[in-house]
Structures are given as C-alpha cells and as structure tokens.
C-alpha cells in the first residue's frame, strides 16, 4: 500500500533524488543524488525517515502537488515560498497534510532547490542501487526524467510518527544567502600564475546560463594554469576544474566521472549545500580555508542534523 501525490504542474526541474550511486562511478555513471545533501537529510529526519530516503528536489519554480492521502511532510533547503492550500507552509518543520491538500511554491525567495520529504520516503525506479534521477542516462526516479503534470508520485506508506512540528532551529540552518564557498587548494593549484591564484580567491564569479546539476561554468576573469596535458583521473563533486579557456567549472552532483583538466581548488564538504543552492546568474566567490577549519565546519553541520534525531 502506498500513499501518493498527484502532480498538477511539474515545475521547472523537479526530480526524485536520494544520496546517489557513488559505487557506480567506476562504471562511468555519475554519482548523482541531492545537490544540497544537508537540506535533503534534514527534510528526511524531520519526518522520521532514514537520511537516504528519496525526496523531491524542486528547482527554482516548484511543482504543484495534491496529496491523495494524509501524510507527514517537510520542506527544507532553498526558500521557494512553499504553500499549502495557498497559505504559507513553514520550512524546516514537519507538517501534517490531509487528503486533498495542495502543495505549491509561489516564487524564489532564497536558494534554488527545495527538498520535499514525506514520511516513508518517495518511491522511484531504483537503478544501480539508487532511486536518484539520472537525466543523462534517463534512468532512476520517475523513469529517468523530471516530474510532469499527470504523474503520480508514490510514497511508501508507514505508520507515520507523531512528530509533526519537529523543526530545525533557525541558527542551525545553512546561511544560503552568503554565497561564499569555502575551498582548499586543489592538487594542481601550483600551476596557477600568482595573478590567477589571487583572482580565484579574490574575485567574484557568476554562474553562466549553461550551469546545471552536472556543474557550474563560472564567468569572471579568465584564469591561467599552464602545464602539460594530464591523463584523465576520477573526479568528485566540489572539484574546481580549469579548462584551457581559463573559465573554471565547479563540478556538482551529476558531474562527469573523469576529466583531464587541472583541479585548482576543491569546495569543502560543508560548503556544498550552499553551492547546491546557486542558480544560473547568481554571483559567488571562493574563500580559501585550511582543512582543519573545513573539518570543524563539517562537524557543526553534522551536529545540526543530529539535533533532529536526539
């Protein structure tokens, strides 16, 4: 038995996502998964799910959904002004929904991606160990594609816990508005000319219009990192690649699994949720930090998530 949501508007890009399929990388398949893992995990914990349950990743213009049964939901991440029957729906909070209730998103107020979790977890096609939607391979989630009007998204029915109203304290939520990405030097940072190194950490970049779940092309001053061509190596999300043209590319969840461009910096794990909330046209900048500081930021995020299960 399942409960479900009827989709009346798909939104710009609404996909079923979980924590991805990292073990498939050695077969050339992108790891995928939620762009903002912090929000995805928080949304799940707020409704009593395991952190790896599937959620809906709603991008910029969210979908319009009608609940077919009573359920417990939560919405976390970017503020797309979520509504229930037209009224404001509190974010980062477990909310009881009745059959017939309509969930919608009015407009982008902050961030770029909101995560909608339901007690029991969304159900999508499982491919190579994950329900995440792989748009390139056209597999996983809703048959490998974004949600569209007329779809029905099932959710595993469970005795949902009586935890409506559970909420993540405001001071524990990421500061998406700051748009500063903390990064450590990459393995090929020594190739950067002194001027380019200053520009990488001292100037602002704008996400180009072909930025997407694979990666963000960053427009700003061109950077130079001359050197011999490299043999391709396995990439990770957060790597900042520098192709010959000098425009850096920040690799995101659906990145190409291997590449041969120099990696001049790597965005630290605690900043990837902030990165996941950027959209084409947004400005961002990199701030160099030491690994010790990166680990401290990471521990603070973990403590924030643990506050939801204690």
């Amino acid at each position: 038995m399942t409960s479900s949501f009827r989709v009346t508007e798909g939104g710009l890009l609404t996909t079923i996502q979980d924590l991805g399929r990292p073990q498939a990388v050695s077969a050339g398949v992108t790891p995928g998964g939620a762009m903002d893992r912090f929000a995805h995990i928080a949304a799940n914990l707020l409704v009593g799910n395991d952190r790896s349950a599937a959620t809906l990743e709603c991008t910029l213009t969210g979908p319009r959904l009608v609940a077919e049964r009573a359920c417990l939901i939560s919405i976390a991440g970017g503020d797309l002004d979520p509504r229930i029957n037209g009224e404001a729906l509190p974010m980062w909070t477990g909310v009881d929904v009745r059959a017939g209730d309509e969930i919608s998103f009015a407009r982008r107020r902050g961030g770029a991606r909101a995560y909608l979790a339901v007690a029991g977890g969304m159900i999508g096609d499982r491919w190579l160990g994950s329900m995440s939607t792989d748009l390139l391979a056209a597999r996983g989630g809703m048959h490998g594609r974004p949600l569209a009007a007329g779809d029905v998204v099932s959710a595993a029915l469970q005795e949902f816990p009586d935890i409506a109203g559970r909420s993540l304290a405001a001071e524990r939520r990421p500061d998406y508005g700051q748009r500063v990405l903390h990064a450590v030097l990459g393995p090929h940072a020594s190739r950067l000319t002194p001027r380019s190194r200053d520009a990488l950490f001292g100037s602002r970049f704008t996400l180009s219009h072909d930025s997407n779940r694979m990666g963000y092309r960053l427009e700003g001053g061109a950077l130079e990192a001359p050197g011999e061509e490299l043999l391709s190596f396995a990439m990770i999300p957060g790597a900042v690649q520098l192709p010959a043209g000098g425009r850096p590319i920040l690799l995101m969840a659906d990145h190409q699994t291997a590449g041969g461009y120099p990696v001049v910096a790597v965005v630290v794990s605690a900043s990837m949720p902030v990165a996941g909330q950027l959209a084409p046209g947004d400005e961002t900048r990199f701030e160099e930090i030491a690994i010790e500081r990166a680990l401290a930021l990471r521990a603070a995020q973990r403590a924030a998530l643990e506050s939801l299960t204690s």
Binding site: V25, G28, A183, S232, A234, I236, L295
Partner: protein, 218 residues
C-alpha cells in the same frame, strides 16, 4: 637497471576535506594502471574508505574524516602500494568494426603527414587496453595509440559529437557512447552499443579489457 622502488614515487594530495588523490605515475602504462586498480581494490576494503576509483595511474579516494586523517590514510596508501603488483590477467577481447569516414580524417592525415589509408591501417593495428571507464557512461579510454597517430586535442571542442563517433587524441582512442560535447578528432564511426543501462556494470567495456578495431564498409 634495478627496478625502482615504486612506493617512493607515489604522490598523495588532498582533494578537499573528505578525499585525496594518489598518483602512482603520469605515464600511459599498463603496469601502472594495473597497480592503480589493485590499490583502489585494496582501499575499498577499508572501513574508513567510502570510495576508491582508479584511473590511468591515479586513485581518487573518498574517505570518512571522522575515522582517519589525510596524513594517516596517505601513509596507509604508501604501505599498500609497496606490495608486489599483481599479475595483469588479460581481459576480454572485443573486435569492433569501424567505418572510417569521420569528418576529421582528412585533417588528421594532413596534420600527421600520412595518407588516410595509413591512418586507418595504424589505428586498426594494435590491441588496445581499456585503461579507464568514465567521463560519460560507456566511454572507455583506450590506448596506447601508435606514436605516428599522436596529436593534441582539437583547439576548439565540438559542442556536439554524434554517438558512435570513433575518435583519437593524445595517446588514446575511444568511441563516444552518447551524443555529447567533445574535443577529440573524429576519424570514424561504429554501431556498437557501449552504454548498457540495463546491465550491471552498465558498460560494454571494462577496465583491463582489450579492444581491436577493424575497417568495415558503410
């Protein structure tokens, strides 16, 4: 010349706060690739390692920094890499028909100072090794190319390379499994299906497999 102690040449560098990259060497070399694959396999068995992916001569390792530090894992990698490299078992042999009519065949021949027929003959001569599967699903980096065919990548990548295009660049060759952007030189095409989404692993070619091309008529 006595064999060099391989472990001494390994470089381990951080890749952010939860990953690192171990470089065993920078050459396109079967023995090096075999050692990288063995190192990745050994690392995957560790509880503090989440993922280890071998490439030509590197291993990209994602780990849990709550369980181990970069430095401690770096030391463990040096220790693991000191072990005797495994014997490379020959992989499956794939014979792939190619129609050599790619849009870059003329320019490639001219740039190399060869006839088109000579380019085709040289490309079909070796048995290539699959060094790495990745980039896009189903893509395999095959090499090494005969020295006479080595060319840098195109200065300006194409925004769309048709699926099935057979291409060369540097010391390597490959077949585009899906239509995608690409900077390699297109010398032919093949109808072989490389990305097999309903198989596990979803790729026709696996690391260590061998590939031989032969000319086919259109």
């Amino acid at each position: 010349m006595p064999p060099q102690r391989s472990a001494d040449r390994i470089r381990v560098q951080p890749l952010g706060d939860t990953a690192l990259i171990a470089q065993l060497g920078a050459r396109l070399d079967t023995a090096l690739n075999t050692r990288a694959i063995a190192l990745a396999a050994a690392l995957k068995r560790r509880r503090d390692v989440r993922q280890a992916v071998a490439a030509h001569g590197t291993v990209t390792v994602q780990f849990d920094p709550d369980q181990i530090t970069h430095d401690a894992l770096g030391l463990a990698i040096h220790r693991l890499a000191r072990k005797r490299p495994p014997v490379d078992e020959p992989g499956r042999l794939h014979r792939i028909p190619v129609v050599y009519d790619g849009p870059d065949l003329d320019t490639v021949a001219a740039a190399l100072g060869l006839t088109k027929d000579r380019v085709i003959e040289l490309h079909g001569r070796p048995i290539y090794r699959v060094f790495l599967v990745g980039f896009v699903p189903g893509w395999a980096y095959l090499g090494p190319l005969p020295d006479e065919l080595v060319l840098p990548r195109r200065a300006v990548p194409r925004t769309l390379v048709p699926a099935g295009s057979v291409a060369i660049a540097g010391q390597e060759t490959g077949i585009y499994p899906l239509s995608s952007p690409g900077g390699w030189h297109l010398i032919g095409r093949s109808a072989v299906k490389l990305f097999l989404p309903d198989s596990d692993p979803p790729s026709l070619f696996r690391v260590g497999d061998r590939v031989k091309f032969f000319a086919a008529s259109p």
